[in-house]
């Protein structure tokens, strides 16, 4: 970029305040967005003694995921909280969308706040030297919702689900006997209301925040994908800060992602109850159902393993985390 002038370094006059723009794509009620506000922003501003100011932009006001990713790579945005839109260039990031990777959400938290995350941070920086990953937070565990009866694996047959335009997601729906429809997110509500599609898959956080429960009757808590959200920063910006400032930011990001996981896990029961109170029939996915689904989506899994030589080792490593 032209004139991405280095921000104030530690020994400069404290009068010069560094401003960090943080962009995410979530409403401020999302656990990750809350953690950015309540932990990251708060800690950085307090611990830096006001030498760093954090401006947070939720709901994609700074840009969608690809824009934020481009922005953080070229330095226009200092910090981006995004999913894995870079997974075509660095396929290891597909791990975020890997179906049925964890025993439960606690397991996912352990993985993404532990050594595996640290290791991937290093690989990520090797692949994209202009960036650092500062932390891995929860997106949320995806569930299926529908207007038609959806309480068992057999119910998928013949239903139309809006799925993200991504071969993994589409593959899952199709393997389960449903048809996958690609509909843009801002037409999803109307499409569910009028019946263009019967259902969709998203975390309960989204079902609640996007008010999809207003137009959906059933929710099947499959937790088929527990995707992550990464806190990514621009390397040039980070390196321009003093050691102390860098440490403050790193610690704050780490604390924010841990807090987000904790809050997210705590919110699951509350979100479920909220949906039930609003007339949604919520069905938990039993271990037998889960095994049956995994069996059905084997073609998608096989394809994923065949296309990604790194996968077997990493998946085993993740599954071994206790």
């Amino acid at each position: 970029g032209c004139g991405a002038k280095p921000a104030a370094s530690g020994d400069a006059a404290p009068a010069e305040v560094v401003t960090i723009k943080v962009g995410d794509n979530w409403a401020e009620t999302h656990p990750m967005a809350m953690a950015i506000d309540n932990v990251f922003k708060k800690q950085v501003e307090e611990k830096s003694g006001g030498s760093i100011k954090v401006d947070v932009y939720h709901s994609g006001t700074l840009g969608n995921e690809t824009e934020l990713w481009d922005g953080v790579r070229n330095g226009a945005v200092e910090v981006a909280v995004i999913g894995t839109c870079m997974n075509q260039e660095f396929t290891t990031m597909l791990i975020s969308d890997w179906p049925f990777l964890y025993r439960d959400i606690e397991h996912a938290k352990k993985v993404w706040t532990g050594a595996i995350a640290e290791e991937l941070n290093g690989k990520f920086h090797e692949k994209f030297p202009e960036t650092y990953i500062l932390g891995w937070g929860p997106n949320s565990a995806r569930t299926f919702t529908s207007n038609k009866k959806l309480e068992s694996v057999d119910d998928f047959k013949g239903q139309k689900f809006r799925m993200p335009a991504n071969p993994i997601h589409v593959g899952i729906a199709e393997n389960l006997g449903a048809s996958a429809q690609v509909i843009p997110l801002n037409e999803l509500f109307s499409s569910l209301e009028t019946g263009v599609v019967d259902g969709q898959d998203n975390g309960m956080v989204t079902v609640k925040s996007e008010a999809l429960y207003e137009v959906q009757k059933y929710l099947y808590e499959t937790n088929h994908i527990i995707a992550t959200l990464e806190i990514i920063t621009n390397a040039k910006f980070m390196d321009s800060l003093s050691e102390e400032q860098q440490q403050i930011i790193k610690d704050a990001a780490k604390a924010a992602s841990e807090q987000a996981w904790t809050d997210y896990i705590a919110s699951v029961d509350a979100d479920r109850q909220f949906l039930i109170d609003n007339g949604v029939t919520v069905t938990p996915c039993t271990e037998e159902d889960k095994a049956l689904i995994i069996e059905k989506i084997q073609p998608t899994l096989d394809k994923l393993y065949a296309e990604n030589d790194w996968a077997k080792e990493l998946v085993e490593k993740i599954q071994a985390v206790q």
Binding site: G63, G71, E187, T194
Partner: protein, 431 residues
């Protein structure tokens, strides 16, 4: 802060006055603001990224689709027959087609949630139709632009969904709350049109048609008249989305124009494709350029600063609402609706809650104030679509739009003074 704002507006208005294409003026003021803000904001890649993402929009595809459908309807003889049919009923009323336009917009509004989609759909048909019947083209385009603002007020509404999601308000309640305002809106539109067309409104002097002739006109127009019915049924019945409705209209118009009326030639078809594509490109390029300016507006944090300075007003809800809505109306001149809602909702909501204002009521007034920006230059997406589909220049459409704009603005302030206009009928509807 004030300096940034002044500069932003100065370069924008200056650039437009100079005669730069408005899209270029928007990027120009964006770049100047970026250079002024400095730091990581002065990054030329932002222009490229924002311009690109501004054109990468599935929902905006409704634009080329409906424009194409309109072209085919005009060239394939569908429009002509719909005019003849409408004229049976309103031909002898002064400005009759204008009222048809206003009602058609309300009807279409109950199907689609985006004013751009509905203007593309109706503008491409109604503006040439009114012009062919002898109405002034600019006035027709102005009416069509203004009347289509009702699309996001009458449910379904994309802006209300965006507000509902970011404010955590029931979307169905918002939808219920929009019905009566949409009706007030329509009544006001008819009232203004009554005065606008008094001077030179077209009125047919042809003798009243006999029953037999009427039947003939109706039968010959039957195929054309089926098009709105198909769209209505398809959208309500969950067969296709609002964007897809445009394509269904294209295919149907193609079928009727070629097979039934046999008026559409291969040459017409190619001309329609090129013309629809060019028109859409012009509107989309402007929308994409506005995306660049909106980004710089966002990172300058001007809206935050202004709103935060109003926190002392929470004990005066009416005054607070008046100022907030005025900010929205002003912001609406140069930022598009969805970005404005996303930027402003989280910063206004604490004030609204503190002042004890109902969030559903606020959402309705907020949506109306926002959509006013759709017909105000320089970033007036609906205005741009109306210009493109009506084949008139930007300057020509501004004057005819003003009277509607003023009355629509008055409606916003009326809602602020008398919240009961919204809340009472909302109670009846159980929202």
């Amino acid at each position: 802060m004030i300096l940034t704002l002044t500069m932003f507006l100065l370069f924008l208005v200056g650039g437009i006055a100079l005669g730069l294409p408005i899209a270029i003026a928007l990027i120009f003021c964006g770049i100047c603001t970026a250079l002024y803000l400095g730091g990581s904001n002065a990054n030329v890649q932002i222009i490229a990224t924002k311009l690109m993402s501004g054109t990468d929009s599935v929902t905006m595809m409704a634009l080329p689709f409906f424009v194409m459908a309109g072209e085919l309807m005009n060239r394939g003889g569908l429009t002509k027959r719909i005019i003849n049919f409408c004229n049976i009923f309103v031909g002898r009323v002064k400005g009759g087609l204008g009222y048809v336009t206003i009602l058609a917009c309300l009807m279409f509004a109950s199907l689609v949630g985006s004013a751009v989609a509905s203007t593309a759909a109706l503008g491409a048909i109604l503006i040439p139709m009114m012009a062919k019947s002898g109405y002034d083209r600019a006035k027709a385009a102005g009416l069509v632009a203004s009347a289509n603002i009702v699309a996001p007020i009458m449910p379904p509404s994309i802006p209300m969904i965006v507000y509902g999601v970011s404010a955590g308000v029931s979307i169905k309640s918002l939808f219920m709350g929009g019905i009566f305002p949409a009706i007030y809106f329509t009544v006001i539109m008819c009232g203004v049109w009554f005065f606008v067309c008094r001077k030179d409104g077209v009125k047919s002097n042809e003798p009243r048609l006999s029953f037999k002739e009427t039947l003939k006109v109706f039968l010959s127009g039957l195929w054309a008249l089926l098009l709105p019915v198909i769209i209505l049924v398809g959208l309500r019945g969950g067969i296709f989305t609002a964007t897809e409705a445009g394509v269904v209209a294209v295919v149907y118009a193609l079928f009727v124009g070629i097979v039934v009326y046999r008026e559409l030639t291969l040459k017409d078809l190619f001309t329609s494709f090129i013309s629809a594509a060019k028109m859409s490109a012009v509107v989309m390029f402007l929308a994409a350029a506005a995306n660049v300016a909106a980004y710089l507006m966002t990172v300058s944090r001007i809206p935050q600063a202004i709103t935060e300075s109003l926190s002392g007003l929470t004990s005066h809800p009416i005054l607070l609402m008046t100022i907030l809505m005025t900010i929205i109306i002003v912001m609406g001149t140069c930022v598009d609706v969805v970005p404005t809602i996303l930027i402003m909702t989280p910063i206004m909501l604490p004030l609204i809650t503190a002042a004890g204002i109902d969030k559903v009521y606020f959402g309705i007034v907020f949506t109306l104030a926002n959509v006013l920006g759709l017909t105000s230059p320089p970033v007036g997406p609906v205005l741009n679509v109306a210009c493109a589909t009506g084949k008139i220049r930007m300057e020509e459409i501004i004057k005819p739009v003003i009277p509607y704009y003023l009355f629509q603005m008055a409606l916003v302030y009326l809602f602020i003074l008398f919240p009961g206009l919204i809340t009472v009928p909302l109670g009846w509807l159980g929202g």
